[in-house]
């Protein structure tokens, strides 16, 4: 960092206490520099909140409004406890993918932290939300807040009409299946509050009045009695369990379908965030680092400000080693920041190695390359595409193969000439949601028999299902209303029944 000492510039305030004027001044400068770099973002809305409110925000998964559910209360209590005991600092910021982009700053932060957070959240994350293809496709920043308000009111209405207990049970079941309630490949229509409201009434009526496929019990006059197999339902396996429940579960009331739909939509909204952690955090870190340094170079910042800033920054992007007490996997902030810095280096100052590995970006304009990379990748493909040998060396990466049938662990590749590609491949797979989470799809419904539903789990690298299968299956059965089975298909093609949850009591009978 060289300081431009030639011309005298008025420094921004460097006190540790923040004021609204100071935040405004910093924000104006940061916005100016960001615009010079050509960052395209939603307008920023900066909100100052207390730590209490920050914990509230934590509890409702970062959203400013959300429906009520005990699990949010649980999160609030545990956050509150660890915060009060000093076991955990709160995040300095929460940023919401909405238009305008809402960034929360916490009252307790120093002025330096506020400036860092503005650069990080209101420009870093914000521009990522606006640019990245996953967010563009799957989320609708203009409508999300409205939709959540709608969801909250709708669920409150249901509670009044049908009882909190009933709604809570339904939400429990939906939450259990939330991760499997997203479309991974099919693009959803954009959310819009107006349309949503308009269609909601229509949809509920229509759905209920429509003869459900499952109820289509008109006797089938088999023209050819020798027919071998009945048509499958669903014709193709369905990956989105909640979608399937919403559309096809025979016994759900209209309002229950709507609640399932709400949970599904919320899950879908968070889906891109789970897939772009490294990129997104790295991108935000890169920009707060770059923007603040630019201001410093212009002579706007005091040295004391800079020292505090650098200390926080290095804390965030620190990567402990595998044998370190603090190690908990690869730090997405560290990896992301290093990769973006590295891409910039490859663009501006490529080595021979870079030219061999990245012929298309070595020596290119870094802003254009950045834009392309930010817009068109997710963690998995980003790592596969841009992880350079230099980063692997810097992080001293190595891959361990853990096969339960082998007595020992094996180091399958390290950061050397023969291992680079393998390490990169493995790391990329680590970020692939498809392999991180079990692949479970709706396989079959026994239309002509007991209406039982069969889920099929495609095993990945012989990993069994763990956790509370039992519980989740009960939730699935509650939603479906009839027996639910779970099968596992092994990699050699054999199928094994893992769990069968019977639910024979029909609602009507249960109530009598």
């Amino acid at each position: 960092m060289k300081r431009a000492t030639s011309k005298k510039v008025k420094q921004l305030p460097a006190t540790s206490e923040w004021t609204f004027e100071a935040i405004d001044a910093y924000h104006t400068e940061i916005a100016r520099v960001a615009a010079n770099f050509g960052l395209d973002s939603y307008p920023a809305q900066i909100e100052l909140i207390t730590s209490e409110q920050m914990m509230d925000a934590y509890a409702s998964v970062g959203m400013p409004v959300n429906y009520h559910h005990w699990s949010f209360g649980k999160h609030f209590l545990s956050t509150e406890k660890s915060y009060r005991r000093g076991q955990m600092g709160l995040a300095y910021e929460i940023v919401i993918n909405s238009n305008p982009c809402i960034a929360y700053l916490m009252e307790e932060n120093t002025l330096t932290m506020q400036a860092l957070v503005i650069a990080h959240a209101a420009y870093g994350h914000n521009s990522f939300f606006k640019g990245n293809y996953l967010f563009r496709t799957w989320t609708n920043a203009d409508a999300i807040i409205d939709y959540l308000v709608f969801a909250r009111n709708y669920i409150a209405q249901c509670e009044e009409r049908h009882g909190e207990e009933e709604v809570e049970l339904l939400l429990d079941s939906c939450h259990a299946l939330m991760n499997l309630g997203v479309d991974r490949y099919k693009r959803p229509p954009k959310l819009s509050l107006a349309k949503e409201k308009l269609r909601q009434a229509e949809r509920t009526e229509y759905l209920q009045s429509q003869v459900n496929e499952l109820w289509r019990t008109l006797p089938v006059h088999d023209a050819k009695p020798g027919k071998v197999s009945a048509p499958r339902f669903p014709p193709e396996p369905e990956e989105n369990l909640l979608y399937f429940v919403e559309k096809h579960a025979p016994l759900l009331e209209p309002w229950q379908r709507e609640v399932v739909r709400i949970v599904r939509k919320v899950a879908q909204y968070f889906f891109p965030q789970r897939q772009t952690q490294v990129m997104n955090e790295g991108w935000a870190c890169f920009w707060h680092y770059t923007l603040i340094n630019k201001l410093y170079d212009e002579g706007l910042l005091a040295d004391s400000f800079m020292l505090e800033f650098l200390q926080s920054h290095t804390n965030v992007v620190y990567q402990p080693s595998y044998n370190d007490r603090w190690y908990s996997g690869i730090n997405p902030y560290a990896l992301g920041f290093a990769m973006w810095q590295d891409i910039k280096r490859i663009c501006e100052d490529p080595t021979e190695e870079d030219r061999a590995w990245f012929p298309d970006i070595a020596g290119s304009d870094w802003r254009e390359t950045f834009d392309f990379a930010m817009k068109n990748f997710k963690d998995e493909s980003f790592v596969a595409q841009y992880l350079s040998p230099k980063i692997m060396r810097d992080f001293r990466m190595f891959a361990i193969l853990d096969d339960e049938h082998e007595a020992k662990l094996k180091v399958s590749a390290i950061h050397d000439e023969t291992g680079y590609r393998r390490v990169r491949e493995i790391l990329s797979d680590q970020y692939n949601l498809g392999s991180r989470e079990p692949n479970i799809q709706v396989w079959n419904v026994d239309l002509r028999g007991d209406r039982s539903l069969t889920l099929r789990h495609q095993q990945y690298r012989k990993r069994p299902l763990g956790g509370s299968i039992d519980e989740v299956m009960k939730h699935m059965a509650r939603l479906w209303g009839f027996t639910v089975r779970l099968e596992t298909q092994h990699e050699d093609g054999t199928v094994e029944l893992v769990q069968e949850t019977r639910l024979e009591k029909r609602r009507g009978q249960a109530e009598n």
């Binding site: 916005a31 209490e52 361990i400 180091v411 493995i426 079990p438 990993r463 069994p464």
Partner: protein, 422 residues
Amino acid sequence: MTRIIDRRFDSKNKSAVNRQRFMRRFKQQIRRAVNDAIQDRSIRDLDNGEQITIPSKDLSEPQFQHGRGGIWEQVFSGNDQFASGDLINRPPSGGGGGRGQGKASNEGEGEDDFVFHLSREEFLDIFFDDLALPNLVRTQLARITDYKTQRAGFKSDGSPANINIVRSMRGALGRRLALGSPFSARLRELQKELERVIEESGEDCEEALKLKDEIGRLRAKIEAIPFIDSFDLRYNNRIRVPKPTTQAVMFCVMDVSGSMDEEKKATAKRFFMLLYLFLTRTYEHIDVVFIRHHTVAKEVDEEEFFHSRESGGTVVSSALKLMHEVIAERYAHGTWNIYGAQASDGDNWDNDSPICRELLGAQILPWCQYFAYIEITPGEPQNLWREYEKLSGEHKNFAMQRIEEPADIYPVFRELFKKNFV
């Protein structure tokens, strides 16, 4: 367009509803935890919240996950010794070492218990739930002592709103007088001198001018004394006085003979707690005397009262005698309200029960505001019960009840609460 919005004063308890839902959902677990907590509490310690622990597996949110097993291949950082193809022993399961994100997170958050803090209100609510208290009584008990503010003279610091102007000005005047008096005396002298000089040698003589000059300087000095200074300020002193100002003593009498098991003691404890809670709402200062007995009675501290084990026969009168002695010795001079609470399983040495009745009726009840007896037993009434029954007709301040579970406790106090609250 950018906006900076101050949300700090917006609604605070956004999560309050979610918290309530959580409490309702896990009422069973929380109640169990509160019961455990009561065992460890002092009976005087009812005005605090409580740290509550629930096994986290009871409140897990289930999800489909990968389990342990199969093939995992993961990238770690910070290689310091490995070359590709090395074989390593598996680290002991669960142990730290190089086990990274993948494995650990797939195993969930570990088996730690979920700990959180119940507020005082929430704690009391659950406590009362068990005792089946009527609502009116609940609200009365949970109320925190009212204070009233009272004037108590003046003090030299306080908030500007409380400045007492008269006092402050009086102080300032006194100070001005005191500081100025040497000058004023001199001034008066000079005035006289000046008059004399003017009379003798006219207005414009040198001496007169000199005197005038000095008078002028003295006047300036007097004027320079500040009219009012910060240490002149006096403030009205207001103190908060708790409204009830009386005192009470509570006697806890418990049978600790072999037949009183832990469960019975726990029930007895709630009985004492409830009485104590009632007393704290009515009296400002409360002494508690713990008397336990088997064949002999002994005054002990709370710890020993609830937790030490004794066995042997039962002579209830020994405890009543001791109680009477303590009253006579320490609490007899009329300023104390005396409450007695006795818990027993009713098993007494046969010949002793009539003595108990006499003692209680003649020597103790006349002193007492209220005496409550509970017999914790599921079986037939014992001899002590039958003797006491004779008393309950004669004395209005005596109540007795047979108890099988905590919800039976309240009726013992019904009279007491009715008298004071309704």
